[in-house]
Amino acid sequence: MTTTTPSTRKQTSDLQDTRTYKLGAVGADWLDQRVAGGGFVKFIARKIFPDHWSFMFGEVALYSFVILLISGTFLTMFFDPSMEEVIYDGPYTALQGETVSRAFASTMEISFEVKGGLLFRQMHHWSALVFMVAIFVHMFRVFFTGAFRKPRELNWLVGFALMVLGMAAGFTGYSLPDDVLSGNGLRVIDGLMKAFPIVGSYMSLLFFGGEFPGTQIIPRLFTIHILLVPAMILALIGIHMVLLVLHKHTQYPGPGRTERNVVGFPVFPVYAAKAGGFFFLVFGIITLISATTSINAMWVYGPYDPSPVSAGSQPDWYMLWTDGGLRLIPGWEFTIFGYVISLNMLIPFAVYGGLLGFLALYPFIEAWVTGDDREHHLNDLPYNTPVRTGLGVAWIVVYLILALAATNDLIAIALHMSINDLTWAFRIGIFVAPVLAFYITKRLCLSIQRQKRNLALHGEETSRIVRTEAGEMIEIHRPLTDYDRWVLVQHEDHRPLKAGKGVSALRAKATSFFFQDRIEPVTPAELREALEHAGHEKHIIDGLTGGDYRTPYEKVVH
C-alpha cells in the first residue's frame, strides 16, 4: 500500500507572488517568533481526519454550544436575575398589572420589547435542545461502534460528564424565567431534596436560601448557569478535543484502513472548510427554526405562583426521563422510629444512578469481559457485536419508557386512554421491554451477520436464474470485488472462555453471555472453496447463456 505524505505537495509559485501572500508571510513570521506558530501549523494543519456522516453528531454538539454562548451572552445583557417583585406594565396586555419577579419581567422585556430579543431567546432554547440531542446521538454512535475502547475510555468519561453537565445547564437555564412551569420544576427539586434521609430538609433550605421559593434561588441558578456550568463544559470540551487529537479519530473499517493508520482528509484546507462550514450550517438551521417556531412561550404560563399549575407540565425533553420514574413509582414510603424513608424518591434516584453508572462504566465492563488490552482505532460495525448493541438498545428503551412515562398525561389525552392503565402499562413495560429489545436486537444482529457472511462468500444475488438441461436451477451471483468483500470479512471474532486458568467463574459466565451465540466469520479457506464452486457454476451458466446474462425480454428491448 502506498502512503501519501500529506505535507509534500508541490507548492504553487504564482500564489507566493501575490501581495496578500507576502503580507501574510510577514504576519506569520511575527507570530512564529512570539508563539512558535510554525510548529503548531506543522503539527495540526495536515492532521488527517476520516470522513463519515456519523462523525458529525459530536460536531453538532460543539457548534450548538458555541451558539449557546453567543445567544446566551446577548440574553445576559437584558436579563435581570432578581426575584424582587414588580408590577408588569409591558406591552403584553394579558399580564399588565400582575405582580411578577424582575426575572420574569425582564424575560418578558427580552421577548416583547428588545429588538431581536425573542429571536435570540428562541435560538438559545432551541440550540440547548439540539445540543442535548447531538450529545446523546454522538454518545450512542460511539457506544454502538465500540469507539470507547482502549485508548479512549477516559475520553468516553469526559463525554459522559459533558452529557450530565448539559442536563445541569439546561435545567438551571429553563428555571430562570420564573414562570409557572419553571417554578413548579424547582418545586419538584425542592421535594426531591427533602426526600433525602437526615440531610434532606437542610439541603433544601441551603439550596433555596430559606424556605421554597425564597428570593435567592434565581440569582444562584443564574451564577451556576452562566458561570459555573459553562466553565466546566468549556474545560471538558478542551480535554475532549486534546484527547481526540492525541488519539487521532477512529475510522470505519474499509479497504486500506488499518489499526495503524488513519485515512481521510487534512485539517487544512478540507476540514477547515467542511467543519467550519458545518458550524455555519448548524447556526443557520437553528436560526431558521427560531425565526419560525415558538418555544417556551412563558407569557402563556404566567409568572410563578405556588398555587396554580396546569396539566401537561413537562420539563425539556432531556430531563423527561428524570420525571418518568417519579410518575411510575408506587407510593412507597415507610416510617422507622418515627423517621420517614421515602422509597418513592429513593428508588427512582437509584434507578437513574444505575442507568448513568452503567453507561459511564460500560467500557471498563466490556474490557474486563474480553480481556482485550490492545488499542482499537477501527470501529466495530454494530451488527458484529450483537450483545453490546443489544445492551445499548435496551438502555435506550428504558430511557425512552421513562421519558414517555413523563408525558403520560399527554399520551392519555391524545389516545383517550385511562391514565392509570397507561401508568400500569409503563410500570410493566419498564421491566419487560428492555429484555425484549435486547433479545430482538441481538437476534437481528446475528441475522445480519449471517446475511453478510453469505454475501461475502457468494456475492450478490442477481435474481437471474438459469435452468440446466437436467432441470437444475442456478441463480447467477455477481461476485464482490476484494475491496467490497474486505469490510465483510475483516472483523474480529470473540469466543467465550472456560473458567479456570486465570479466568474466574463470573468472567466465564460473562464471556458466555457476550459471545455464546456467534456466527463463524468467513475464513480464507472457505472463500477459496466458495469461489471454486462459483467458478464451476459460472462454467455451466456460461455454457448455457453464452456469457450473456440478459433475460430474453431485455435482449428484445435493448
Binding site: G256, P269, S313, G371, D373
Partner: protein, 354 residues
C-alpha cells in the same frame, strides 16, 4: 490465546479474541480513486465555482436583511409589515430578523462545504498511527525524574511531614462546610407550620381575589382554591407562606363520606385540604367532580376526598393534610388552627413534633 498487533501477547492473560483462521484476509489497500465531475470537466469546475461564489453573495444579502430588519421591522417601534406595538409586529420582527440571519450564516456554511466537496482535493490521504504509550526510553526517563524528585523532596525520609500534610489536606475540605452552612437558615420548625397555624381563626379567602367565602357560597360538588384572608401582598415572605398555606375546599354529599374523622373536621360536607401534593409538592389542582378525586397534574397522585384525601393512585404516600374548618357568626368559613400535619413532600423528621 491471542496476540497484540505487534506480536506480543496480551498483558492481562486470557482474552476472548479468537485467532484469525488461516491468518485472516489480506487488506486489499485503498481502492482506485474515482474522479469527480469538477476534476474531469472544466465546465463543471466553473459551475461549482459560480455556485460557491453565489452562495457567499447570498449570505451578504442575508446580512443586509438582518441589519435592515433591526431598524425597519421592530417589535415595538417602526414596523413596515404591521401596526406598531401589536403582537403581529413582534411576529414579523422575529421572522424577518431570523430569516435574514439564517440566510447570512447558512450560506457561508453551504458555500464552504460545497467548495470543499467539489473543488478541494478529495483524494484520501493516509497518516500513520503511533502507539499512544510513550517509548521505553521516555518511560525510563520519566520514572527517573519522578524518583529523583521524590528523593529530593525527602518524602520517604520524613514521615512526620507527610502525616502532617495529609492531616492538613484532609482537614481543609471540611472548611467548605462553614461557608456552605451560611447559604440558608436551618429548617427548625419552619416546615411543620403554616400561616394558618401562626394566625388562628383566619377566614378562608378565594385565592384569585382574596374575598372570604361563606358556607352558603359553596355549592355541592364545587371546588374553591383558597388562601388565608390575612395573607396579602404586604405579608412578609408572601411567596413562602403561599407555598405552604395553599388549600382547596370541596363540598361533598355527606352520604358519600367514608371517613368520619375527616368529615368531623368539615362543616356540612365542606372539607378543606392542603393543595400541596405530599409527593414532591406540586399543587394538586385538578378535581374530578364525579368521583371526588383530586389529581396532581405533575405525577398523577390521586386523592379521594370522601376518604380523608387518602392516596388511591400514584407516587404520593401520605393523604393531603386536612385543614379543620368552622363557620363564624357571619356565616364565613374560618380555620381555627393549622393543618392536621405538616404539608407538602415528606421529609426525614416530618412526623416529629416541633
Amino acid at each position: 490465546m491471542s496476540n497484540n498487533h505487534d506480536g506480543s501477547t496480551a498483558a492481562r492473560g486470557v482474552t476472548t479474541v479468537a485467532p484469525k483462521e488461516g491468518g485472516g484476509f489480506p487488506n486489499p489497500g485503498l481502492p482506485p480513486h474515482v474522479h469527480r465531475q469538477a476534476d474531469l470537466h472544466k465546465s463543471a469546475e466553473k459551475r461549482a465555482e459560480r455556485v460557491v461564489a453565489g452562495m457567499f453573495l447570498l449570505s451578504v444579502i442575508g446580512t443586509i436583511v438582518f441589519i435592515a430588519a433591526y431598524f425597519l421591522v421592530t417589535p415595538t417601534g417602526r414596523n413596515i409589515f404591521a401596526e406598531e406595538g401589536t403582537p403581529s409586529a413582534l411576529w414579523w420582527s422575529n421572522l424577518i430578523t431570523g430569516l435574514g440571519l439564517a440566510v447570512a450564516v447558512f450560506f457561508i456554511g453551504a458555500a464552504a462545504v460545497h467548495w470543499a466537496k467539489t473543488l478541494m482535493p478529495d483524494e484520501e490521504m493516509v497518516e500513520e498511527r503511533h502507539d499512544i504509550r510513550s517509548s521505553e526510553e521516555t518511560r525510563e526517563v520519566a520514572v527517573g525524574i519522578i524518583n529523583d524528585g521524590l528523593e529530593e523532596s525527602g518524602i520517604t525520609r520524613r514521615p512526620v511531614i507527610v502525616t502532617a500534610m495529609v492531616a492538613a489536606l484532609a482537614a481543609l475540605p471540611i472548611a467548605v462546610l462553614a461557608p456552605l452552612s451560611t447559604l440558608g437558615p436551618l429548617p427548625g420548625n419552619k416546615l411543620h407550620h403554616t400561616f394558618w397555624g401562626h394566625n388562628p381563626g383566619q377566614r378562608l379567602a378565594r385565592d384569585h381575589d382574596g374575598t372570604p367565602i361563606k358556607l352558603s357560597d359553596v355549592a355541592m360538588n364545587s371546588i374553591f382554591h383558597v388562601m388565608p384572608e390575612g395573607l396579602t401582598h404586604d405579608t412578609p415572605h408572601r411567596m413562602e407562606e403561599r407555598a405552604k398555606a395553599a388549600a382547596v375546599i370541596v363540598r361533598i354529599d355527606p352520604k358519600l363520606a367514608k371517613n368520619e374523622e375527616s368529615m368531623a373536621m368539615g362543616v356540612e360536607g365542606v372539607l378543606a385540604f392542603s393543595k400541596i401534593c405530599t409527593h414532591v409538592g406540586c399543587p394538586v389542582a385538578l378535581y374530578e367532580q364525579q368521583t371526588h378525586h383530586m389529581l396532581c397534574p405533575c405525577h398523577q397522585s390521586t386523592f379521594d376526598v370522601t376518604d380523608g384525601a387518602k392516596v388511591i393512585f400514584g407516587p404520593a404516600h401520605r393523604p393531603l393534610p386536612q385543614l379543620p374548618i368552622e363557620v363564624d357568626d357571619e356565616g364565613y368559613l374560618v380555620a381555627p388552627g393549622d393543618f392536621t400535619e405538616p404539608i407538602g413532600p415528606s421529609f426525614w423528621n416530618i412526623h416529629k413534633d416541633k
